[in-house]
Structure formats: structure tokens, C-alpha cells
Amino acid sequence: MPLVSLRNVSKIYRLGGEDIRALDDVTLDIDPGEFISIIGPSGSGKSTLMHILGCLDTPTLGTMTLDGTMVQNATERELAHIRNQKIGFVFQSFNLLPKLNVLQNVELPMNYSGVSNRERRDRAMDALRLVDMDNRAKHRPMQLSGGQQQRTAIARALVNRPKIVFADEPTGNLDTHTGEAILQLFYRLSQEGRTIALVTHDPEIAAFTPRRIEIRDGKIAIKVDERLAGTGAHSRFSLTRSDAEGTRETQ
């Protein structure tokens, strides 16, 4: 049973009396443990897709289930609860709260889930250890490098043991070297069994994941699944888009 499944999902915005279909009839499944990337140029609708997948927004049409729960009709309160319990977010600009230290930033999601103070600290330290930031727990975000900030943000995304982690251009504000380290971290986390979805416009980053979904004009243009294609290599140069043409799917 897929962890996330979208069925004929559309997102329509009304702008100046005109309907704009940011997402147009998208059907998609994500299985537990998958490491996928959603790729597309800006304005393609990939951010909208991520917002709907991440329960930050609800679809106008179509249905969506996450971990067996119907999401499309959820109230805002229920959505907040789902985001808190089942979803982790990593943002391009890290979005750490500057007034809190690293530990407090990681504890933030647990503030909204009724975890006791002691357990909060333990779980936050565990999450920081996972991303190798436990020795910086008392630092302020401003005192950290970009890569360290992003690792803190990843710890925050993992701390409530979510079913799926969404990362929106996680390397966009980092230099190539640091970005690659972050990607390696995601790869490691995925190897440990976590479900991760990267959103990016960069094909080279997308090439890092076994499964890639390309969005154009609100529709899914290309799906590549290396597991189906039978290749197991995950080097960023091992697979380019041209190699994947054989698995093009039509909607």
C-alpha cells in the first residue's frame, strides 16, 4: 500500500477572473522507503505539488491519502496535526528561528505535540546526533555555516519521526561541495529506511535519486524509476535524463 497517493489531483487558483491550473489532474503514488525527486523548471507546479503532498495546502479537485488518511477534506487543525506528526520539511533557506539555539530549533515541532520536556531534549539530541550536529546544540543559527544550518533543519524535520520528509531545494543556498554533503546525508537517511522527496529544478541533483518525477505545466511529464529500469547506481553522474527516455510514461 502506497504511503502517499494522489488521484486526479488539480489545484486551481483564480487570478483576475481567470482560472490558473497550477496542478492539472496529477495521479501519483509514493511507497514507504522511497527516495524520489520532483523536478521541473520554476512555474511548473512542482512547488504546488509539494505543498499539497506536504499538507500545507489542499487540492481543489481529486483525492489524496497519506498513511491511510484522507487529506483533501481535512480541516486546518487536522492538517496542522498531520504536518506535525507525519511530515518533515526542509527548506531552501533553512528557516531556523534566529532567537532560538540549535537544540531549541530542533525541539520546535515537539512543542506542538505534547512531548514531555525531558523526552523532548533526548529526542532532539538524538536527531542532532543523526546529522552530526550534537556538538553545536547551544549555538545560535547565526553562528553556523550554511551546511550546518541545513543539517539542523534536517534534524528538526526528523525529530517527530515523520512518515515522509520533503526537502524544497535543500542545496539551493549552499555551495556545490556543501550541497553534495547534504545530498549524501539525505542518501544515508534514505538508506536507513526513511521516505524522502527532494524538490529541485536541477537535473543533476534529481539524478541523485532512484526515482524522478518531472513536472511541466502542472502535469507529470516524465517518471523515471531506476528500480524498474534495473540499475542500482546512485552516483550523480551515473544517470542522466537522456538515459531515462525509455521509461517515459504518458498520462
Partner: protein
């Protein structure tokens, strides 16, 4: 979300913007401070007025004076007896709801002389010693007249300090206290011996003013006249300031009491018919036992008096209720206007909080977006903003209570010309409660605004 945790987040947020929060609190501090201070001032004013009311005998004191016979009884005018000692005896025996029934005979425009000095007392009264109790008089030197003085109609008197000051010298001017007991004075050319003198009566305010003038001490050695000037100033303020309420004390100091019989025999004889002294009393004083049953007592007195007056209503009751009513009105007006001004300043403080909370959430749109993305609900965000607003108001309110203490001290130093302000618990609780309410109100709108933010838009906000 854990409530204590929310409060601690609120404190952190305020601590992170120390200067800004302090400026915001200043509005609340001043609002609460002025609310408490003004209520303390009004309380002081009220105390001063009540003090004057007590000095004239308090609310329990009632007196009966003569009144023109009402029109429907005019045909029986010959049977009207007026207020006499018969009424006194009847009331003493038949009106258990009142006590301290005291007759008074007054002689207006009496001239009192001693050597070349003369004064006209405000009250020249022939009465019983019970009058002391009734009018809150205290004998400082000598004694009050006794039954023998009364029985023998002796020419003895007890005087107030203003009489002494006029005839024998003011201690402020001559620099020493004169004890006039044993001296003789002439009242309308009758020789009287002074057997006692009352205490000097003054309001709290006058006492303070006088003490301040005294503590300013001997003026620098510039000679006699300037010294006199200082003392004269003190005296003027003693009798002049305090408005209507101060007059109550001045009248009291300008009193001469003599035995009732003396008054009757020495001064009323001239006004007699058939060589009998005029038996009419100027007033009949009594005290009501229980203020709660004032009306019952007055009705009882009226019944007794109807009996002795052949049913003719040629007498009227005079109570201090009008006085007390005017005090209440004055206090209510002062309190109302003061409270309105202070409440406005508290409200302005609240607007300050709201303003700063709006600025703060605009600054923190991204933070709110992040909090929502990781699972904060509408209420979590709303409560967080509300708590911050209330925490500012609570700290401001507490600081305001402290400030009010200082403000009141400052006011009583700057202007001794007010009865000492009294800070009451009620005022503090009300002011603090108001500041909390203002904090809640000021937090609602910014809180709603923050809580309504859509997470996606909030996260995109630059």
C-alpha cells in the same frame, strides 16, 4: 501546546526585544501608575472632607430649630410653645432611639473684650457639658463647667483658641503658648472668668502646612519683620486654605461656651416679657443611636415633640446628610474625572501594545510560517501572540503599581496642599486588573492576524 512553555516563549520574545518591550510597557506603567495615584489623591481628599464632617459632630448629630408654623396650623399659632426645656426633658424620657439630648441657647453678635482688644465669636453658646461630646470638643487647658456652675448660673466660660489668639496673643506671633485659664473677659459688658480652653482644631492639611512653615525654621537673620512675615503666612494659610471644609475648623476655634442657665439669666432677661427670661432654646441637639435607623429615630423624636408642642409643627430637623451628600458628590466627581483620564492613558498604553505586537508579527511572518509548517495550529499561534501581549501588560502593570507608590510620594512632596494621598488595595487590584484586560484586548487583533496567516504565504514572505 504546553501553557507554561507558551508563557516562557512569551518572556523570551520580550527579553529578546528588551528596549522595545520596555518602551511599550511604559505606556502601561504610566497608565496603571496614574490610575492608582489619582485614586489615592481622591481618597486623601475624601478623608479630609470626612475629617471635617466628624469635626462638626458626624452624621449622627441632628438638631432641631424653630420653624415658621405651617399654613394649615396658623390659626392655632397662639398655642405654639416653641422649643423649650420641656422638650429636652420629654426627649430624655421618651425617646430611647436618641441620646445626648442637649439644649443650646445662642446669642448672635456678642462682643467679647479684654483690655483694648475685641472679637465677635462665631458661636457664643449657653449649653450643657454634653455639648462637648456632641461637637467633638476637647478641653486642653482648665475644665468644662460643671453642675454647680450650671445651677448657680456662674459667669464662667470655656473659649476656643481663636478667641484666645485675638485677646491674649497668637502663639505664632508672640512665640509662646498663652494659657488664658483664670483670666477675665467681658462678654457684652458682663464679666466672665475663663475656666477652660479648647484644643486648637485644624485639618490634616492645615497641620501639615503649619508644620512645614515651622520646619522652614527661623528665617535667616534679617531681623524681626521678615520673621513676622513667615509666621503671618503660616497663620493665613491656617485659617484660609482648605476651602469650605477648612471653615468648619475655623468656626470651631471661634467658640465660647457658657452654662445654659448663665446664658438664660444674663442675656435672655432683656428679651423677656413679664420680667421672665425668654425660655426658647435656639436649638435642641441630640445624637441618633444607630445611623441605620435614622428615620425611625427622627419619627420618634417627632412624635414626642408633637406631644409637647400641642401638635403644632413649629420645629424642623437639621441633619448633616446634605453635607455628607455634598462630600459624596464631590468625591464621585473627582474620582470619575480622574478615572476617565487615567483609563484613557491606560487605553493609550494598550494601543501601544497592539501597535508593537502588529509590528512584531509583521517582522515574524516567516517564523509564524515555520511554526505552522511544523504543526502549530491557529490557536497555538493566537495564544502565543496573546500571551506575549498579556505578559507585557502584566509586567507593565506590576511596575506601574510600584511606580504609583513613587508617584504618590512625589506628589505629596511637591504639593503638600492636598490631604495626604492614600493608596488603597482596591485601587491597586482594579488598576492591575485593567492592565491585564488591556493586554488581552490589545493581543486579540494581532493574535488573530498572525493565526490567520497561511503557512505557504508566510514561508514565502521576505
Amino acid at each position: 501546546m504546553n501553557f507554561l512553555n507558551t508563557i516562557s516563549i512569551g518572556f523570551k520574545e520580550i527579553w529578546a526585544n528588551k528596549f522595545r518591550s520596555m518602551l511599550t510597557m511604559l505606556g502601561i506603567i504610566l497608565g496603571v501608575g496614574s490610575l492608582v495615584a489619582q485614586s489615592a489623591l481622591v481618597k486623601g481628599l475624601e478623608n479630609g472632607m470626612k475629617e471635617a464632617l466628624v469635626a462638626v459632630g458626624g452624621l449622627e448629630k441632628v438638631y432641631i430649630t424653630a420653624q415658621a408654623i405651617p399654613a394649615w396650623q396658623r390659626h392655632r399659632a397662639e398655642q405654639a410653645v416653641g422649643n423649650t426645656m420641656r422638650d429636652i426633658r420629654a426627649l430624655q424620657q421618651s425617646a430611647p432611639l436618641v441620646h445626648l439630648v442637649v439644649p443650646e441657647m445662642r446669642l448672635p453678635e456678642a462682643v467679647v473684650t479684654s483690655g483694648s482688644k475685641a472679637i465677635t465669636p462665631w458661636h457664643f453658646v449657653g449649653t450643657w457639658p454634653g455639648s462637648l461630646d456632641l461637637n467633638q470638643h476637647v478641653v486642653e487647658y482648665g475644665r468644662i463647667f460643671n453642675d454647680v456652675d450650671e445651677e448657680m448660673a456662674r459667669n464662667v466660660c470655656v473659649i476656643g483658641t481663636d478667641i484666645r489668639d485675638a485677646l491674649f496673643g497668637d502663639p505664632d506671633e508672640i512665640g509662646r503658648e498663652v494659657n488664658p485659664v483664670g483670666e477675665f473677659i467681658n462678654i457684652n459688658n458682663q464679666r466672665f472668668r475663663i475656666i477652660g480652653m479648647f484644643r486648637h482644631y485644624e485639618s490634616e492639611l492645615d497641620r501639615k502646612t503649619r508644620e512645614q512653615a515651622a520646619s522652614r525654621g527661623p528665617a535667616p537673620e534679617t531681623g524681626g519683620p521678615s520673621r513676622r512675615g513667615v509666621a503671618g503666612g503660616a497663620k493665613r494659610s491656617r485659617s484660609g486654605s482648605g476651602g469650605g471644609m477648612g471653615l468648619a475648623f475655623e468656626w470651631k476655634n471661634k467658640t465660647i461656651y457658657i452654662p445654659l442657665n448663665t446664658m438664660w439669666l444674663r442675656f435672655r432677661a432683656g428679651a423677656s416679657t413679664n420680667n421672665e427670661p425668654d425660655p426658647h432654646l435656639t436649638a435642641i441637639y441630640f445624637k441618633v443611636n444607630d445611623l441605620e435607623h435614622m428615620n425611625d429615630a427622627l419619627q420618634q423624636v417627632k412624635n414626642v415633640m408633637s406631644q409637647t408642642h400641642n401638635g403644632i409643627e413649629d420645629f424642623a430637623f437639621n441633619t448633616q446628610e446634605n453635607y455628607s451628600e455634598s462630600i459624596n458628590t464631590a468625591v464621585r466627581n473627582a474620582r470619575l474625572s480622574g478615572t476617565i483620564i487615567a483609563a484613557i492613558s491606560l487605553l493609550v498604553g494598550g494601543v501601544g501594545i497592539m501597535n508593537i505586537m502588529l509590528a512584531s508579527i509583521t517582522e515574524r511572518v516567516r517564523e509564524i510560517g515555520v511554526r505552522k509548517a511544523v504543526g502549530a495550529t491557529f490557536w497555538d499561534v493566537f495564544i502565543q501572540i496573546l500571551v506575549e501581549s498579556v505578559v507585557i501588560a502584566v509586567i507593565g502593570g506590576l511596575a506601574g503599581l510600584l511606580a504609583s507608590k513613587g508617584l504618590v510620594n512625589l506628589l505629596s512632596i511637591l504639593s503638600p496642599a492636598g490631604n495626604s494621598p492614600v493608596i488603597t488595595w482596591e485601587a491597586m487590584i482594579v488598576a492591575f486588573g485593567f492592565s491585564v484586560a488591556v493586554g488581552v484586548l490589545a493581543g486579540i487583533f494581532p493574535g488573530l492576524k498572525a493565526a490567520r496567516l497561511h503557512p505557504i504565504q508566510a514561508l514565502r514572505y521576505e
